[in-house]
Subunit: 252 residues, 4 copies
Amino acid sequence: MEGVIVKILKKPRLKDPILIEGLPGVGNVGKISAEYIMRKVKAKKFAEIYSKYFPPQVLPKGDGTIYLVRNELYYKKIKNGRDLIFLVGDYQGISSEGQYELSYEVLKIVKEFGCKFILTLGGYGTGLFNETPRVFGAATSKEYIEEFRKLGVIFSPTDPGGGIVGAAGLLLGLGKEFFGMEGVCIMGETSGYISDPKAALNVVEVVDKYLNLGIDLEELREKSKKIEDLTTSMTLKLKEEEKKIEKLDYYA
Amino acid sequence: MEGVIVKILKKPRLKDPILIEGLPGVGNVGKISAEYIMRKVKAKKFAEIYSKYFPPQVLPKGDGTIYLVRNELYYKKIKNGRDLIFLVGDYQGISSEGQYELSYEVLKIVKEFGCKFILTLGGYGTGLFNETPRVFGAATSKEYIEEFRKLGVIFSPTDPGGGIVGAAGLLLGLGKEFFGMEGVCIMGETSGYISDPKAALNVVEVVDKYLNLGIDLEELREKSKKIEDLTTSMTLKLKEEEKKIEKLDYYA
Amino acid sequence: MEGVIVKILKKPRLKDPILIEGLPGVGNVGKISAEYIMRKVKAKKFAEIYSKYFPPQVLPKGDGTIYLVRNELYYKKIKNGRDLIFLVGDYQGISSEGQYELSYEVLKIVKEFGCKFILTLGGYGTGLFNETPRVFGAATSKEYIEEFRKLGVIFSPTDPGGGIVGAAGLLLGLGKEFFGMEGVCIMGETSGYISDPKAALNVVEVVDKYLNLGIDLEELREKSKKIEDLTTSMTLKLKEEEKKIEKLDYYA
Amino acid sequence: MEGVIVKILKKPRLKDPILIEGLPGVGNVGKISAEYIMRKVKAKKFAEIYSKYFPPQVLPKGDGTIYLVRNELYYKKIKNGRDLIFLVGDYQGISSEGQYELSYEVLKIVKEFGCKFILTLGGYGTGLFNETPRVFGAATSKEYIEEFRKLGVIFSPTDPGGGIVGAAGLLLGLGKEFFGMEGVCIMGETSGYISDPKAALNVVEVVDKYLNLGIDLEELREKSKKIEDLTTSMTLKLKEEEKKIEKLDYYA
């Protein structure tokens, strides 16, 4: 069996397309972001990627049937702009070698469709619930930094200190070294403890502005609000509990 | 050394055969079920599968001799019906990649024998001892759901939530995507803590009715009864102990 | 880099040679046994085996120099008997796949030298210090059982229950299935907690009698005695301590 | 994707070059040492090594851009002496097989540049803070021992007992067995708990004297001093705390 098997479903002609990656990861920020944009712009699937580097697993579709875990490529033609390719899916490769093999294969495919620029979306896990989570960026070349800075993205000399692990990093690194591609990783600050639509909202806003897509953010804003309320009420409760304990201490 | 080595012992001519898989897994339900059916219909071995994806181990035959761990394929010709192929064995592949390689290889073989439909048998571990354990199903296409529903199999939009891991899932997923095969996974609800003949009995009953094999279930019913008695008596004892403790509490 | 690299140092002509394997394992029984016999019969090295399936490590020779971890093949010509090949070394393969690759490669080599029979030596770990440890056996075919039974080897229907893991099992299993070889595994009962010359002594005695080598066992007997004394004195101390505690209890 | 991908940036003509390896490891001694020497002699990069055996990761350059994790080869032409090649980088291979593949590939490259001798630098972790840490050595052949002994390097029959694990060992082992190269590993004694410039200073001094490079050690001495002060003050504090506790005991 080949390590990575690609099923090309159609071969759309794409105009200088940008690859947007959003696979499961820290706070699921990348996955939520990319799948939201993809859905809102009504992208169409053109390829499926199967691999022995994914878990040996089928997943329920919700109607009693199942499908083999996979990654998928979607495309969207954009009037008066660069076309889009989306990389989404159930899993990232589960071994280091698998990660390399999968990212390398994806880059081979999108290169065939003329891709020269990549946006990878992800979460930057800080372990803290920040009320106004930031958006961090990292680029393959300096020339891309300024444009994203204007959109509020922070390019820090020290963050993320541990680098970027997984497909969001590897697509940029391998793309730059072996496929002549440039790219930027957009990371939404997140606690990393929960699937985080708020961090995703921040990421989607950046991508939307950068690509001028005019995406309707309402749905994601609502999800983000719900999570925010939940987190706030939990934090309040925790604080009340702490106060009670303090009071008890006074009378102790 | 090849990753998977297949020894074909004979080449039976099979009539539209169905592959029935039952390898070790949750509660050993699949293994117990498939081996029981295989034994009762007196299937004959026609292939052995060795692999470096199995543990590096030989197992005792019980007479002082040993054999290399393996999977095996058996066949049974059925009068007035579709023939059967059984996949049974000592282990599943121990790495994710090994799982893919092994399932892929098995599908290549059974395709050569004309197989287009697969029944994978397994356990659905809930962590609970359910007195009347259910049977869950998952299919590659909707058209197979109704027929199994009539046999009491539950096709739930949410169960099994984590999908189906291992050969029982992979044979269906890979079979569907790369070999043009359809199939259904039959999962007996089990605590998952013990080798569970009761869950297997439920699975065998479904397969028996579906294939109209007229299998003698007596032996499996006895084993199932013994386990049930054991579980019941253990549960009773635990409840008595709890009552004693409660009584002690009253007098405390 | 090839997975397994074999350096053939010489090509001795061997007469129907028997492969004797003793690599590190439970209680190091196999390693101690094979290396003892090899040294006593003054076998000569004819091949070195290097592999990426071994740990990435060099080991000290004791004179300030180091060597790459490896397995080695030695040979000994026996007058009026079958010649011998020894497989010894620093490590077994550290992954399951590596184990298969290494055993397969060894079998390919020894087949070239005409080998048709294998004796693998190992420990059977029981977790207990048995004063008169037994010797267990397992064979590829029934015809070899009787001869070893006469030498005191126990062929049990149930031991070792978990089968034989590693090179000692795999050489027999792969040898039988793919190289037309037969063989027997001789396992010295051992606690498994320490490097166990006493268990090795029992194994060497069996091999010595079987092959009629007339090996001087004195040196191994001494080591075995020392370990026995040590174990006995430790056991006595433990018992005394227990008695003291009991006495204290009486007066408590 | 190839397991190891080498990008040769230039092809310098080198005169009987010596490979000096210093990759991350125990106390980071090898990495600190090799990179210090490399910087002080102003070596120039001539090759980059990428591999799926490294972690799937990009690292920040500190200016908002990132690069794919890699190893690098530098060279330095030495007047009236043997030229130098340096192997440095972000990581060692993360699996055993990866370690072998990477070392083997490096040896293939440096052999093309005429390399016949290797110095690998590393740490020898003892778990203790030794005030005057020693330097240990291990060689591929006895003839190199004397010269390094004169420089204060200890070649012990027993240290390092566990051998040398990773690239520092493997380059010597594989170089000797498969590339006709000789070499010495220089190990600075270190606690292993911290990144240890003091141990590195000792190693650099040995290399400097051996190769007669006239390296300015000032910068490394300062770093070493700072660590030493820190360690000493921490040790003093710990001792004071212990005394306090003892005093408390007297009055208890």
